[in-house]
Amino acid sequence: MSRATPALGRAAGRAVDSGLPRLLAGVDGHGGMSLREHLATHGELPGERSHRRREAPLIELLEHAGLRGRGGAGFPTAKKLRAVASARRRAIVVINAAEGEPASLKDRTLCELTPHLMLDGGQLAAQAVGADELIVCVGESSPDSLDSVAEAIAERRGLPGAPARVHLSVVPSGYLAGQESALVSHLNGGPAIPRFTPPMPFEQGVRRRPTLVSNAETLAHIALIARHGSAWFRVLGVGSQPGSALLTLSGAVADPGVYEIEHGASLASVVAAAGGASGRVRAALVGGYAGTWIDGGLLNGVALSDEHLAPHGAALGAGVVVLLSAHACPVAETVRVASWLAEQGAGQCGPCLNGLNALAATLEQLLQGAAQGNSVRRIERLASLTRGRGACGHPDGAVRFVLSAVRVFSEEFADHARHGPCDACARPAELALPVDPRAGRLRGDPVPVA
């Protein structure tokens, strides 16, 4: 286990497991690593091999490594690169560090402490797909990330093998702003909201050119796989999900922050490395605010890989785990987040807009004990009406979050339906939500970025 602490500049960087840290190697919390420090830590970037050939050996390397996207969707990276490389027009590579998920800090961490890793990955990917332009997308609510990335880009000017154009794009805050088609829409001068696909960005993206949109962490892994090989990558992790990953652990834990784990590591070991839980844990939210709740009693048996999470109905997603303490009111937390998810929708698709609003309203009624009729049945019906009927995955995620909450917290929900608000309802929120995007602050109990 190794961790990094972006905002306060403190870092542990201790390698608990052999082979780690990989992405977080050399991170010492004294600001971002310079290009020199980066090269000293990771070694030189592999030479520009066969940059005239569209399909470089990099893609084969990634295929053998079994790397999957780390932005939440988990799409096989080699497949994506191959699709972009085989397009006729000249491609564009986009590094997605927009990180709209409130409980995720990993991309921010990469940007602020080790930006050259993802930039290396972006450069390598650009060579592999024949792109002449690299765009780094960072959220407007992370001024530190913006500064760090801008500095890193400036440092790399004139680096051999760099794409002809490398520039930074500031992405508006918003949960959906980092969604692939939304990002492309923003880069095309439009609003940062999802567009109807097909055509997919890899076919027609920025300026109608084939566009590779990759999460910052995915590209960081590419930078290391290119240096050390696919076998090296597979030393850690599990067969179905090799390699390491960045996990943002927050909530009822002593030292919340970003930790690098190997896929398949037990949740218990990560929590232990984070100083242990700060009290009894009621449940864990895995995968982000559109993820799945897992009951506290089951957590000791939970391992962090999609394969191991599947029996719990969960997936690792963008590597987010939030521990909910036993002091919180899970119903109030669920209602808060469900309302926020409804608000964060682009409002373009009727079923999502109507469905998520109706779900939030029903949950609110339940919370207040003002539920009419069988609320759980209504929630299930609304969920089936909403799921899969939007242009993006937002309604699906929100529905998954709500349904797992109703299932895991069935007792508390039943209590609220009968008796209305409980004592814990008035407590400050444990699942923090962005309130002032420009200041990058979170409301509710601040999730310590330390």
Binding site: R195, Q348, C349, G350, P351, N354, R389, A391
Partner: protein, 70 residues
């Protein structure tokens, strides 16, 4: 090869003409948005499906050739 119905949920503004013209496949939910029960369109319904797609004021309903085997 068959034809498939696909909905662009962003373009759809719940005019509801598709459900009027192809009730065999499309019903409307409580908010007026289309629910496509089965995307596949058999030859017997192809004329109606085409008409439904052409009637949509916002081009939200698409009728596409599909090479997938069901």
């Amino acid at each position: 090869m068959s034809d498939r119905l696909r909905l662009n949920p962003i373009a759809c503004q719940a005019h509801g003409m598709c459900a009027e013209l192809l009730p065999e496949r499309i019903t409307l939910d409580e908010w007026g948005y289309p629910l496509i029960e089965d995307e596949r369109v058999p030859h017997t319904l192809i004329v109606h499906a085409r008409r439904a797609a052409q009637a949509c004021p916002t081009f939200a309903l698409l009728l596409e050739r599909d090479r997938r085997r069901d």
